[in-house]
Amino acid sequence: MSDQTATAPGAADHLPGDVTARDANAKAKSSSRLNGSTVVLVLYLLFLMLPIYWLLNMSLKTNSEILGGFSLWPQNLTLANYETILTDPTWYMGYVNSLIYVVMNTVISITVALPAAYAFSRYNFMGDKHLFFWLLTNRMAPPAVFALPFFQLYSSVGLFDTHIAVALAHCLFNVPLAVWILEGFMRGVPKEIDETAYIDGYSFGGFFVKIFMPLIASGIGVTAFFCFMFSWVELLLSRTLTSVDAKPIAATMTRTVGAAGVDWGVLAAAGALTIVPGALVIFFVRNYIAKGFALGRV
């Protein structure tokens, strides 16, 4: 198609004999650019995939093989490292703990963010812009600043080492994120829909749940994904606020460093397993990744 459009202007202001030469030229140009693009992309994707491949490679080797010699793929393929993790409660409970507080956080964040985002997208009210900005500063706040005060706050109210403590702590950046992303989606819904619904006799609650939420269902899904993800990848706060009962997988992974050196195989397997949740749903949100990272603003 691009060749045709490229030819049309050429044909318009050149002699007919010229056209074939120009056409061939354009063809050669576009195909060489295509190849160039492919090369660039393949190189970039290779750069992205190599370290991940290496992690998988390590996770499928025994420790003696990892330390014994260098090989590009496992010589004696073993699932023993994964077995260690999936059969030892101190290991797999790390994943369970992480999942519990991440899901809690996602539910809390979305629940409180939905009405707030609606208010920001539809109404002017006193201090709305300041509030919106203040939320942003919390998304941007370095967790390191909050680590110590959180530790003391949650210890003093008796929540230290509970899942809810981490879930609440992660609200610091996830609630603002959810409000911003949802607001970005909601502003795309015409206001006339709200007004029509009110005229039809819907209460605010009825309208919001029955009409509005289905309209921004994909937005809610994307927001949930991002809340889930940012809570899942965070280590500093979740590590600071837990010790045993709610210890996340990220903190559990430091266990592999023992007196006898590092248990590389198990470490790699544990790491590979943490990629799974993101990899499972990434296909469904692929077109919204940029929007989510840019706080709903692309």
Partner: protein, 289 residues
């Protein structure tokens, strides 16, 4: 467009309460510590602005700040052009486009400590592909001991981790350019550079500003990845602001200095957030037209 409605406050209230609980109370604790001194036993003395002075004169904090600025500057200088370049070469539609999108997003979704672990395993000269290859090429590479090796690895890790974000944002900007623009350029026989300079770049301006600000903010508070990879070493050579702060606050329990440090750190973040906010609202206005 929007209607005035003060009752909208009720809708915002839950967010306000929740975020105030997890942001304002802790921040007040920090303010509290920053103006007091303690000799243990929970006895505190008024110290005024003493800690702020100490911190401003502390070489350690300035060193961490310069390292931080250098790091953020370097990764921006690499990730932004590279991200744009990759975005320009991405397929516009089709199955291949989906595949590329999914593969590119993968590093963005990996837990940050695992990113550190991945590069630890990748970079070690005994077991890592990168380290082993460099070593067998005769290059002296050991990121736990060499200053340059540590920096190169930390930067490569960040480029690996976050360039896709810039690329995805730039790609989203490119997608919004109507085909007619390119056709017009072809009629004018514009060069590839001219198309980039006068069509693509202006259309990407908004998203690129967002990308740059986001990457600056997030790199400015980086903690987990270098902490796992190098632990801030060798020596202090990759101790960035957050790593230094956590060392001070949770490692040495120097509450006063750490709190003063935190507040100044937070102030910088506030300023950048403000720039970010202004850019965002301006973009929203342009969209509204």
């Amino acid at each position: 467009m929007k209607t005035d409605n003060q009752r909208a406050w009720f809708l915002v209230l839950p967010v306000l309460v929740l975020v105030a609980f997890s942001a304002v109370i802790p921040l007040m604790t920090v303010v509290n510590y920053s103006v007091q001194d303690t000799f243990g036993n929970n006895q505190f003395f008024w110290a005024g602005l003493e800690w702020f002075k100490t911190q401003l004169e502390s070489e350690r904090m300035w060193d961490a700040l310069w390292r931080q600025l250098a790091f953020s500057g370097i990764i921006l200088a690499i990730e932004v052009p590279l991200g744009v370049f990759v975005a320009l070469n991405m397929p516009k539609k089709g199955v291949w486009a989906s595949v590329v999108l999914v593969l590119m997003s993968l590093p963005l979704l990996i837990p940050w400590n695992v990113v550190g672990t991945i590069w630890q395993i990748f970079g070690r000269s005994d077991i890592g592909l990168l380290g082993y290859t460099l070593d067998s090429l005769g290059i002296d590479y050991n990121y736990t001991q060499g200053f340059y090796a540590a920096w190169v690895t930390v930067i490569a890790m960040d480029v690996w981790h976050w360039t896709s974000l810039v690329a995805l944002l730039a790609y989203a900007g490119l997608q919004s350019i109507p085909d007619a623009y390119y056709q017009a350029a072809r009629i004018d026989q514009a060069s590839r550079w001219a198309v980039f300079r006068y069509i693509e770049l202006p259309k990407m301006r908004g998203v690129l500003t967002i990308a740059i600000l986001l990457r600056f903010m997030d790199s400015f508070k980086i903690y987990t990845e270098p902490f796992v990879l190098t632990g801030g070493g060798p020596g202090n050579s990759t101790t960035f602001l957050s790593i230094d702060l956590v060392k001070m606050a949770l490692g040495q329990f120097d509450l006063g200095p750490a709190a003063a440090f935190s507040l100044m750190y937070f102030l910088v973040i506030m300023v950048i957030s403000y720039v970010f906010y202004i850019v965002m609202t301006n973009l929203d206005k342009e969209d509204g037209k």
